[in-house]
Structure formats: C-alpha cells, structure tokens
Symmetry: C2
Subunit: 404 residues, 2 copies
C-alpha cells in the first residue's frame, strides 16, 4: 500500500510552485514557473534513486531499474497546467508514480521490468497547440522539428522556450514500453454523482481544435453606417454564439467551446478590424465529431458572407477517439475490485497523454472523482482518500505488469 | 488665406509622433507617445508667440492676446488618438488653429478679442471613459476629482498618468468663451459621396456607452456537459451578436458596436469564467437612443438567465444629442459659400469637444471630407485641398467673431 499522507504532501508541495493568490496554480508549459516545477520533480526523482532522462522535447523520464533490461512499465502524466488550473490535473499521475516508486523502495521490491515515471511536455495545449504535444512527439506522431517550431499564444517559439528553461534534453526516452498507466482526476461529474471510487477508462473522445482569424476593417463606431461595416468582432461573436447554438441542437455527447476571443484594437468606439478565436469540438464518436465540424464549416462560410469579412482557418489539434487496451482495462477493474473499491467504466472527456501512448504500447487509465466535476478551475479538488485509492490501484497494476 | 503647404507640414510633423509601422498613429491619451505630442504642440504654440496654460485635467490652451481682455474666441480639438488612428482626427482642429494664428501673425492682424487654440485631454475615450473628458471637465460637467480617479483600460488612474507625463497643470483655462469653433474631418462618407467641400455641422448624435462584466464559472472544455456550464464567453458572444441583430432590426440612424471583448482566462480548452465587453449605442434622436438602450437591457437580462451568469453593468458615457448654435452655423455656411466652397448641413456621428463647449458658449463645427469615410483606422485620409479649405473657413469665421 502507498502512504496516503506522503502522497498528499507530494501534491501540496508541487502545488506551491506557480500557486495563484486565492488558490489553484498557473504553470503554463515552458514558463519560468513550470521550470521550477520541473526542477522540483527532477530533484524528487533523484532523491528516490531514479535515473533521470530529458528528451529533446523536454519530456522527463525517471527510471527504476528492473531485474532485466527490456520494455518498461511506464506511469505518466504531466505537470503543466492551464492558466487557472488546479493542483491535481496531471500532477496526480506523475506524483502517484513517484509514490509507487517510494513504496517499492520501502519494501525493497525488485521488479522484473524497469518502472519509469514520465512527465510529458505541454499536455494542456493551453500555451502551445496541440495538446498532448510531448507524448505525441514521443510516440512519433509529430516530427520533433515541427514541434520545436510551434508558436505559443504569447508569440514564442517552442524550441526557444525549451532552451530558455534548460529542458531541451539530449537523452532518449525508454525504447520500448510494456504498458502505460495514467492515474488522473476525472475532471467531470460522473464518478462523484454515482458515488464510485475508481473510474476504469475505456478511451478518450475525439478532439478537434480550430483557430479562426477573422479580418474586417476598423472603422469609427459613431460615424460608420451599419451597411458599410466589415466588423470582425461581430463576425466572431456570431460564430461563437452559433457554435453554442448548434452544439445544443446536436445534443447527445457533443460539446463545443469558444474559450478564446481576441479583438483588435479592442476599443469601445472602434469597429474591430481583426478577431482571433478558437473553437474546441469533441465527441466520443468520430462520425458525429465530423458532423459537428461540418456544421462549423458551414457557419463560418455563412458569417463570412453576411459580415463581409475574410476568415482563415488553422487546425490546432485533431485527434480521433482512442480506445484503450482491453487487457489493461480488465487488469485495472479487477485490481480495484480486489482492493474493495467500487468501479465504473467510462470514456474520458479530456485529452490525455495515455491516448498518445496507446499508439505504441498497451495503455489504460485510472480515474478518481473530482469534487463537483470541476477542473481547469482553481477550485478543482479531489479528496485525499480518493487520491490514495487511485495510487493504490496504480501500485497494484504496476506490480502485476512489472513483476515476472 | 492660410498657407496650405505649411498646414500639411504641421499635420505631417505631429503625425510622426506615435507613428505606427505601416501608417497611422497611436497616441492614446496620457501615454508616453501622447506626452511627446503635447510637448511638440506646446513648443509650436510658444514659437507662434502664444501664452500657454495647462489646466488641472491637462487641457492645453495657447492664447493670442486681443486688443482688449474679455471672452475668447476658441479654436480647439484634441491630439489624442485611438490605438490604430489616423493623422487627422482631432489633430486637424488643433493644427488648423495654429495655422490661423500663424496667418494672423503674418498679416500683423490685431483682433479685438483674444484667440485661443485648445487641445483637450482624452477626447477619444479609447483609454479612459468617458470620451470628451477634458472638455467635459473644462465646462464643469464632471468634477475634477472624479475625473482624476477614472481608471484606464490598462488599469492606471488618470490623475497618476497625468502627473507621470507632467501635464497635471495648475493654470486655468479662459474664463469666458465668446465662441468655439472646431474644424474636424467628417469621419464618415457623406461629404465625399456628395462631392461637397465643407460640412456645416448641426449637432452631435447621442452617445451611450456601457461596460458589461459577465461572471460565469471556468470549466474544462472536454469534460463539462453543456447543461452544467456557466459560460461567460458564450454569454458575451450572444450579447454581442444580439446587439448586432437588434441594431439592424431597428434600422434608421441607429448604430451599435461591441468593439471590445476580453475573456478570462482566454484559452482554447477552458470555458471562460469572466468576460468584459463594451457596447456603444448612438442615435441622433434621444427617444430612439433610449429605445435601443431598453433593447440592450432586455437582451442582457435574457442572456444572464439563459446562460446562468451574472452581468454587472457600468455606464462609461452617456451624452444626449446636442444642437450647435444657429448664429455660428449660419456664419460657417455663409463664410464657406463666400469662399466659393460647396456646403451641406449634417449631423455628426462622432462625439466632439464642441458638444461639451456648447454647454457654456456658442459653438459649432466645420467638417471636411474623409476619403472613403474611413476613420479610427490607420488609412484615414483627407486631401490637402480639403484641409486648406477647412482651415480657410476657420480663419474667416474666427476673424468675423474676433474682430470688433
Ligand atoms: N486532461 C486535460 O485537462 N488535458 C488537457 C487537454 C484537453 O483535454 O483539453
Ligand atoms: N471624433 C472622435 O472620433 N471622437 C471620439 C469619440 C467618439 O465619438 O467615439
């Protein structure tokens, strides 16, 4: 069994790095505060006797040797956050990995296969798109050179930011992964609603992110007749409102979000000449996700015509729904039940590094409840008992996979 | 007659201060670049022999003595700009005033009444609301202490910014104004469309500015079911789209603009917890403007309910339509015609310092054409011949008013 108090202390200590006044944390990927988080993590890994490797995209791997060389059992997630994030999203998976290592160390348990704790770069996608970027590069889904050239929302090149914080590594991650497990908070309301202790994750829904750049003409708000306007702000508002409307009309599991809108010059008495906005569409069903994307495309065309603006589209992320590995799903479900915990199988609404690892290895995830289903919010919270339950399941599935 | 080349050179020289790459200028009120513009103006005034006074709200007055003390004929406007402004909006009225002074000096013409050139603080309202703030304080429409406490869009106190640029003056402006004339570019398409050289301005339409602060709850864009969301961004978009729709439906002279929308945290995968936006409504008819305001109020209430968000309203500016002084209107029209220029009477769509001066003195305005009717845009342009026409009318109406 893991040490519940020690696990909570791990979460609290990392949570102090990038802490916001009023609660929560801001450790946007590759910023100075995330660098401090990385330094803390590397120090903790070394203190546990792990061999630390940093790869060229800044993924951090801490390896505990097994009796033999060979494919590793990997426990991972991420330590970057959104700008107004909580202490658990991502951090839990990495820190529970360390707690598993600490428990193995305490018991002098030698595993057959190596056990690796991994923290992947820029999982959130809040600063650099796409999300799950570090794990995507690790599995070969995005060429390193392309990833290094991605530009952040604050106009910085990823490669330069990686150099700036000293995490442009020269090591390689594990060559082969025997199994990948990721413990994560649910970030949604299902487990809490149904009073379930462990979520057994079947897969991750499809994700489609688009950035729109709308160009109109700046003009005087008092003197410019409506019929002569080319109002980029009005076009952006109509698209955002239209996304809200078609998502409601589609119903089912479809979700859609316009989280970012930036107008230029953004002044009370100037018709906006430019608007940049993002659209996040998700659905567990690829065909339905494509149907929502078609709605968006039609909406863009309609508004561009009606408001006499040009609209440029840029894909920021597009991932099809992913199914996790049945054998690992069974392992997690059986293990949790054997520990006396209630379980439920469910799909993930959020993207996770596990969906990238699933491209190269057996992969699965363990969810624990989120209070009020809230995440990407400074009030994100998970009860200590749930943290411990999740980490204990992670320990047991790791042992099953890594012992002979 | 004024010197056309010298007038153009005045416009070009001030236009270099705060010049943007690609054209246009940014001299937002009380910023370092506007300070340089003020310094330039004060130096030019002194070179023309004017006595310079700076009042406590930073209005700049340059006085040319008359044969006798007494009420002054004032020629004014402003030198602040929006963030993506042109070279003519405001600057023309002040610089044509200097050109009138230079012409009087050249001819050794002594006027009976003093002639004052005025540049009022923060006319644009782009950085601090309300617009026409300096002239409003000058005419006693807003207590100085309240004005100094106004906070800018970048979070700075007006009084502190005034101190920082060294323009918190201790002088008083002219005690009595015999007549106020403001030469300005039209900023709209009417004069150019109708090939008219001089616009004789009858008044200014009513202006209603409101800032809305919408508070919802930040949440994960992938995991949060639509029915559980309190999406401040969606509420903002629906209000902005709704303003666009009701303004089109009202038709007539009604205009409405949402020029500014700022979401927090403004990230692709986070439902916005907060949105701050502005609504600019204008109509030459007070009753119709109130009807539009009622539409806005109903829209806000509807969206707040439907999106489960709170919406706080703050009035940024509210000015009823203003009529200019008939005698001065006739003076301008007759003078322009006597100079062989075509004229047309029209209402102003933009707010102007003249509408504030009209509260304490006879006031009127002269418009010259704007190419393509474009303003609050870096491509704002007025032909040199039109600049000269306007300044010549300004010279002649000044002489009529200031000579015995
Ligand atoms: N787990 C998580 O919040 N991932 C961020 C990527 C996303 O789903 O938007
Ligand atoms: N003339 C001018 O552009 N004034 C700014 C105030 C406004 O009308 O919005």
């Amino acid at each position: 069994r893991i040490d519940p108090a020690r696990l909570v202390s791990r979460v609290e200590r990392l949570g102090k790095i990038g802490a916001l006044e009023g609660g929560g944390v801001c450790r946007l990927a590759l910023t100075p505060s995330e660098k401090l988080g990385r330094n803390h993590l590397v120090a903790e890994m070394k203190a546990l006797g792990l061999k630390v490797a940093i790869d060229p995209i800044g993924n951090i791997f801490g390896t505990r040797k097994g009796r033999r060389e060979g494919p590793a059992v990997m426990l991972g997630s991420h330590i970057d956050t959104v700008a107004t994030g909580g202490l658990y999203d991502g951090a839990l998976g990495v820190l529970a990995g360390l707690e598993v290592i600490a428990t193995l160390n305490d018991g002098n348990i030698e595993t057959d296969l190596p056990v690796v704790v991994a923290a992947f770069t820029n999982e959130e996608g809040a600063r650099f798109a796409p999300d799950m970027l570090g794990s995507l590069v690790f599995v070969g889904g995005l060429p390193l050179a392309d990833a290094l050239d991605i530009v952040s929302i604050d106009g910085k090149r990823l490669g330069d930011e990686l150099e700036a914080i000293g995490y442009a590594g020269t090591d390689q991650g594990p060559e082969e992964v025997a199994a990948y497990f990721e413990l994560h908070i649910e970030q949604g309301p299902v487990l809490e609603d149904e009073k379930i202790e462990i979520g057994v994750v079947l897969g991750v829904q499809g994700i489609s992110w688009t950035e729109l750049t709308i160009r109109g003409r700046s003009a005087h708000a008092g003197t410019t007749p409506i019929r002569l306007r080319r109002d980029a702000g009005l076009a952006a508002a109509r698209i955002a409102a239209g996304v809200g409307a078609f998502v409601r009309a589609l119903g089912g599991d479809q979700v859609g979000t316009v989280g970012a809108i930036t107008l230029t010059p953004n002044l009370v008495n100037v018709v906006a000449e430019k608007a940049v906005m993002t659209v996040d569409l998700r659905n567990p069903d690829e065909a339905l996700l494509q149907a929502a994307e078609a709605k968006l495309a039609a909406l863009i065309e309609q508004i561009a015509g009606e408001e006499d603006v040009t609209i440029e589209r840029r894909g920021l992320a597009r991932f099809e729904p992913v199914d996790f590995t049945p054998a690992l799903i069974e392992n997690i479900d059986g293990t949790a039940k054997a520990l006396g915990l209630s379980t439920r199988r469910l799909f993930s609404g959020a993207g996770h590094d596990a969906q990238m690892l699933a491209r190269i290895a057996p992969a699965a995830m363990i969810f624990v409840p989120s209070v009020n289903g809230i995440s990407h919010n400074i009030t994100e919270y998970t009860e200590p008992a749930d943290l411990a339950n999740g980490a204990n399941v992670l320990l047991q599935v790791t042992l099953k996979q890594a012992l002979p």
